[in-house]
């Protein structure tokens, strides 16, 4: 009987001990390295091919939730909203043959596509959205990336409360995916400031934080190591996976 009680206590302690032990291990550099091993495996197995399921207008929800960082609160952004993005231009530079500077008017005048896909947030919720914009592949083709360009980095206009800038990145393969869009309209209306106006990204094969908002510059780079925290994105520098396919 004593043995049973001992074992019962033992398995109870096992359950209750899981959280404190895991928490204690969580901050060890070597443990973190091991935990990160799964990402490379996921990226390899899941990959970035295939086409996200497309929905119909009837599936679109009218009031898509808003998360991520607050709307940029700089004077410049306030002025952009007030001027209806008159002074805005999107820069495409870095390892390209033809650096571009695309004004809002030029972007609006470009041939656009609409795609109704599901936006899956890392938090666990999903929402079906009708995105209208320009396939990123078309813009990259115009800029003619050099051979050495392996990643497209999206520099955004927002900053967090510490002043750290928001940025994201995709490898060239995912950047050229036909459903990777530079979005100008959402659910039939121009993007609102809280959803990333004037230009945001939509990457339906990955979780929502890859779909960066308030983009002002696309830079083609050979490596992500030298940028900010070196992990390829604002959230990635804070522990999230760069490969967000699951």
């Amino acid at each position: 009987m004593k043995r049973r009680l001992f074992l019962a206590g033992g398995s109870g302690a096992l359950l209750a001990g899981c959280s404190p032990i895991g928490t204690a291990l969580n901050d060890h550099a070597s443990v973190r390295r091991v935990l990160r091993a799964a990402e490379a495996l996921d990226a390899r197995v899941i990959g970035g091919s295939g086409l996200a399921r497309e929905y119909t207008l009837a599936d679109v929800r009218r009031d898509p939730p808003v998360t991520s960082l607050p709307v940029p609160h700089s004077d410049r952004y306030a002025h952009l909203i007030a001027s209806r993005y008159e002074g805005f231009s999107l820069r495409v530079d870095g390892l390209v043959q033809h650096p571009l500077r695309l004004t809002y008017r030029v972007l609006q005048g470009a041939r656009k596509v609409t795609m109704i896909t599901r936006h899956d947030c890392v938090e666990g919720w999903s929402v079906v959205v009708a995105w209208t914009g320009i396939p990123l592949a078309r813009i990259l083709a115009a800029a003619r990336p050099l051979r050495a360009a392996r990643f497209a980095v999206f520099h955004c206009m927002d900053r967090d409360e510490t002043g750290a800038p928001y940025y994201e990145s995709l490898d060239v393969h995912q950047a050229y995916h036909p459903q990777t869009l530079l979005v100008l309209e959402m659910n039939g209306r121009p993007l609102s400031p809280d959803h990333g106006a004037p230009v945001r990204l939509c990457v339906p094969l990955q979780l929502g934080y890859k779909s960066a908002k308030w983009i002002e510059r696309i830079e083609l780079v050979p490596s992500l190591r030298s940028l900010y925290g070196g992990n390829g994105g604002y959230w990635e520098d804070r522990g999230y996976e760069w490969f967000a396919g699951i």
Binding site: R4, G22, N26, E39, V127
Partner: protein, 230 residues
């Protein structure tokens, strides 16, 4: 009890798979509840939809935790909704700090633990299946158990564990792009998330009953046999 046949009955692969599962299940549940805390509700739909909500855990006011299950509201202060936050206080959070990894709210690290041990969980299943194929006949593996036990082990091995993996994979937007049918067979992505949670509850129930049975039926001998194989 079939004392004689008990000896030498668990090949090494089965024992390794068993303990890998124990470790993986404990960590997957703790880190899974951490992930759940970021969106503490479950829907029976493809996209998030409060109309089809089956479970919601929240805090309508500071100091109050409320759980709404199938439309019934329960006050769960201290256990669900308003709980210890792992930082020395209490706050609005679905599951309490003593059951999540890490204890405090941290979706990024919770996901790292979950996605790594999901591989170990799946690998253990593959190892178990390999042992099964090698031992050829299913009957010999399970013959030593009572019918009810046999059923419980079979359901866990062939239904619950594959279901836990499949419903987890159904949450991946990357896999959805290649296999549209995967979330679809579970009723859509949010519904798959609900099934994932339900499978976790079922696995925890099995874990509790199984542990209880071991404890009441020769625990030392059974533990030894699952560790040493004898």
């Amino acid at each position: 009890m079939h004392e004689e046949r008990d000896s030498n009955r668990h090949p090494p692969g089965v024992r390794i798979a068993h303990w890998a599962w124990v470790l993986a299940l404990l960590i997957l549940v703790s880190s899974g509840l951490q992930i759940f805390d970021a969106a503490p509700y479950l829907d029976a739909s493809d996209q998030t939809d409060p109309v089809h909500r089956l479970l919601a855990i929240g805090s309508p006011a500071p100091g109050v935790g409320v759980t709404v299950l199938f439309g019934h509201t329960y006050v769960t202060t201290g256990w669900l909704g308003w709980v210890p936050d792992g930082l020395g206080g209490e706050s609005a959070r679905a599951f309490p700090s003593w059951i999540t990894i890490p204890a405090y709210q941290d979706l990024a690290d919770g996901r790292r633990w979950h996605l790594l041990f999901a591989w170990i969980f799946g690998a253990a299943w593959a190892l178990r299946m390999a042992c099964l194929v090698r031992s050829k006949a299913l009957g010999t593996t399970y013959a030593m158990y009572e019918p009810l036990q046999r059923g419980a082990y079979a359901v866990t091995t062939f239904v619950l564990i594959p279901l836990a993996v499949a419903t987890g994979l159904a949450l991946s937007p990357g896999l959805d792009a290649r296999f549209h049918w995967l979330p679809a067979i579970f009723g859509g992505r949010q519904f798959a998330r609900t099934w994932h949670f339900a499978t976790m509850i079922a696995l925890c129930t099995f874990f509790a009953v199984h542990t209880f049975q071991i404890l009441t039926h020769g625990p030392i001998r059974r533990l030894r046999s699952m560790i040493t194989g004898r």
